[in-house]
Symmetry: C2
């Protein structure tokens, strides 16, 4: 998918919501839990209910890997289901991968060829050759810049001798590796005004923004400091939508929750 | 496995060799390639041939994930085979994982419970809460410090205002999260004398050292600057052993290659 196509989908839907498919078998409604392919069945219902209100889906691979081979089969089913039924959706593998060049190439094959993801989150610590294999025409590396968790303070904010913080160095240096057509950045919703500092370095790129809802970030602040002329934001919500209700009405509750976020978003588009 | 047990295995075997099971279906001998579970059959032969000469095995998960669900099944078979037949071996998931706390916990379940690995490589960029879920009694987080690739220069060597380089900050700060009984560090063999700087901060920890062989690092330098009183090194070799020969004699050739490295190592133990 190109940046222009993504922006057009966002405009048409009036939504830059990304639904995080962090599906935990222990948290899905009890009546589903013991059925066959329970995680996929749950995802399918969530996708059908929320697709009108979002522009992207983001399964976090950890949740599927923790269920072993069976979990990964259901991840593949989920990606294939979105592709077949909602081809306008942008599908992100939240995987935080990154290894030496020939190994990152193997991860890229897993994510883009075994499963037909559009994008993958990548950790920057190992530098250029660990990131480049994830850049392909129409496919995106989403580099961790400033994450939403407490541990983001441990290294990402470290200033070098010239006053440049590590997340800023990641943003700046990675401009040599790709561009706004094949790279995005993770910036946590909890980072508030730091979005303005991010935008000084990368005015045009899309940002993937986790951390509203359960983690406490504010959508309004993200928009105020982070939005650009082509939206430039994909704001993720996971638990608040997936587990809005634990009865047989879970999908309707998820739709209502996603619609609420979409209506908020529509005001700014 | 405890640090003492690992050291005793190393002493008994006179080897601190770790065999990297980066098995690429395109590189295994042709006569094996079309059989059932070809990757597992290849691994099994390599393990049987090299077990007398090494102290650890390290499958890189990218190689298995790139073959989809079928690849991951063969990874599980491989880990189970080592566990059952060579219980003294230390088994490392080379996965470079790391995510917010509740997600890292999911990865830890995948690696320690779905498959019975002893250790996992972890990327430090997201800080403390992304690393801690991998620390369990008898289980090890192996944190990336100074990697063997060219991209290691991009961020890991960045000096802060006090002259501390990022890899040194990772070493120092992570001392608050765990100790030499549940943490190790990745330091690439290509880093030569920087091993001495690493040892100033973490004299007692084990280091996982990739990058001899194909990547050009020197075993002698690693030993000179990196070894401590309890060895403190697991030196990895992958391609040089796995693909020593492409005929039906591949396993004997792998054994000969591993024995050669072991004989070199024995001199220093």
């Amino acid at each position: 998918m190109t940046k222009q196509q993504l922006y057009e989908n966002i405009r048409r839907k009036k939504s830059f919501l990304c639904v995080g498919l962090d599906t935990d078998i222990k948290k899905i409604p009890e009546f589903l839990r013991n059925g066959e392919d329970a995680v996929f069945q749950f995802n399918k219902a969530i996708i059908d209910a929320t697709a009108p209100f979002c522009a992207a889906y983001k399964p976090n691979l950890a949740f599927y890997e923790s269920a072993g081979v069976d979990g990964l089969r259901q991840l593949s089913q989920t990606v294939a289901y979105i592709r077949a039924n909602y081809p306008e959706q942008f599908i992100i593998a939240d995987a935080k991968r990154g290894d030496i060049g020939n190994t990152s190439e193997m991860y890229a094959r897993a994510i883009y060829e075994q499963d037909d993801f559009d994008a993958v989150t990548v950790a920057p610590y190992m530098g250029e050759d660990s990131v480049k294999p994830f850049l392909r025409t129409g496919k995106w590396a989403i580099l961790l810049a400033l994450t939403s968790n407490k541990g983001s303070l441990d290294f990402q904010m470290t200033e070098d001798a010239h006053g440049e913080r590590l997340f800023e160095k990641v943003l700046r240096k990675s401009q040599q590796w790709g561009d706004a057509e094949n790279m995005m950045y993770v910036v946590g919703a909890t980072q508030g005004r730091l979005f303005a500092d991010v935008r000084k370095i990368i005015p045009d790129h899309f940002l993937l923004v986790p951390g509203i809802g359960a983690q406490g970030g504010s959508l309004e602040e993200v928009v105020r400091y982070g939005m650009n002329a082509q939206c430039g934001l994909l704001v993720n919500s996971s638990r608040q939508i997936l587990y809005a209700d634990s009865s047989e009405r879970f999908a309707e509750a998820a739709a209502a929750e996603a619609e609420k976020v979409r209506n908020e978003m529509a005001k700014w588009l």
